[in-house]
């Protein structure tokens, strides 16, 4: 077995234009995903929007530059994640396909294991 982090990327701005009820439907989708795949789920969370993010970068003087906003500005932003367990990439992808992400998509990253 191996672990994968599934990162959910969606267009935050597009949420404002969605039909009422979209959010409820999506929450139901996540619940269903959780129930169906409880055996493979190791964790997961939804994140507050990128407007709440704070980024830190090292500066030349050895201190930090603090910025209001996400590390990288992209149209689709990280909005949540699941940590899943799967035997191989095919199983991980099959699980990831069930995750609701109507305004974007997901990225599947294998967790690195150190000996």
């Amino acid at each position: 077995m191996a672990e994968y982090l599934v990162l959910i990327y969606e267009d935050e701005a597009a949420w404002e234009d969605t039909a009422p009820g979209t959010l409820d439907e999506m929450m139901k989708g996540h619940q269903l995903f959780g129930q169906r795949n409880a055996a493979n789920l190791r964790g997961g969370n939804a994140l507050q929007p990128t407007t709440t993010a704070t980024s830190l970068r090292r500066d030349a003087a050895g201190g930090f530059v603090v910025t209001d906003g996400p590390f990288a500005e992209t149209k689709e932003a990280l909005g949540g994640y699941y940590l899943i367990e799967a035997t191989d990439l095919d199983e991980a992808l099959a699980l990831a396909k069930q995750i609701p992400a109507p305004l974007g998509g997901v990225e599947v990253r294998p967790i690195r294991v150190f000996d």
Binding site: D88, L89, L93, P110, D115
Partner: protein
Amino acid sequence: MNAAVESAVADAHRRKWAFVLAATVRVAGDIDVAEECVQDAYARALATWPTAGIPAKPGAWLTTVARRRAIDVARRVSTHGRALPLLVERVTSSVAEGPGPSHVTDDRLRLIFTCCHPALATDAQVALTLRLVGGLSTPEVARAFLVREATMAARITRAKKKIGAARIPYRVPPIEELPARIDAVLNVVHLIYTTGHTAPVGSDLVRPDLVERAHDLARMLWALLPGDAEVASLLALVLLTDARRSARLADDGRLVLLADQDRSRWDHGAIREGAALVREALRGRPPGRFALMAAIAAVHSQSGSWDATDWAEIVGLYDLLLHIWPSPVVALNRAVAVGLADGPAAGLAALDTLATEPLLATYSYLAAARADFLRRLGRAGEARAAYEEALLLSENAVERAFLADRLAQVKS
């Protein structure tokens, strides 16, 4: 070392490489280790066959030697100690192809499906397939795609690392995923073929090395998945189009269009085999993309002359193809066929609907096709401009020479 041994080893390399490697990967649990062991086995063959004699079954001999070596290596370096062991499926699964020799899954299929996994970029799939299934060395793969050796080596290394780190399994996909996964494999083999059929850049029209590898791969797939109509159709397409190879170039190295080819120079044995495969593939199923492309090639191959070509049939086949595979390149080929069926004005009108297609903006064949219809319509000025555009976009020396010739004709 004698010539017979050298030729036997070269033959075993071309015919048996994938078989030997695929069987060794299973034991080694690691692609790199397996590759080294297989290379060692071929080197041992060169060293020992001159005295011991060429074995009756060279493929089996090489497999035994490579696997034994892989077991030795595995004993010394336990798989658990390695950071990224390959995920070799322990249980033998089988492709549901019905009864017949294909019922038992061949390790080569596992190798092919791993190389063409959709989680790998297409150029990585192509490189891995040529290297691991086709047995080409990294410099050979680099040369085939005219990229630097270091670039190709990095591409192959990155792909192999992803197979290990992301745990892309070494197995044949389950039946419900099989059609999509087979399609990805066919795509890779077709890409290798088209790159060889008309090299995108360079001084040669054809890259025989790539064409022949694609032919070998298509034939291997057909042997492994004989019940799949699209697999049979890809082999048919390769046979039918490659049958024209020797007629595509004049003795002075100039390009000869299909319209002007000496059809007696076509390989009629390959055409017979290809046409039979197409007939079988078209029987009783909605035809797939490769079946339709092969059917179009078959219509050309079985026409006694350019003038005798059944253009209405070809347009009809392109309509079906466009319906299931709505690609701009298919639309372009269809437009050309319309022009040949209904005259250059109709062809030009069909081409003009594609003028704003972004995917064709840098495609020299659109400009070349427009130029040809304009020339036939006697619109010399516009034809000249279109030939000039096509010349700007084409990077194949033989095609450029042809376009320059035509440009000179419309200028005079």
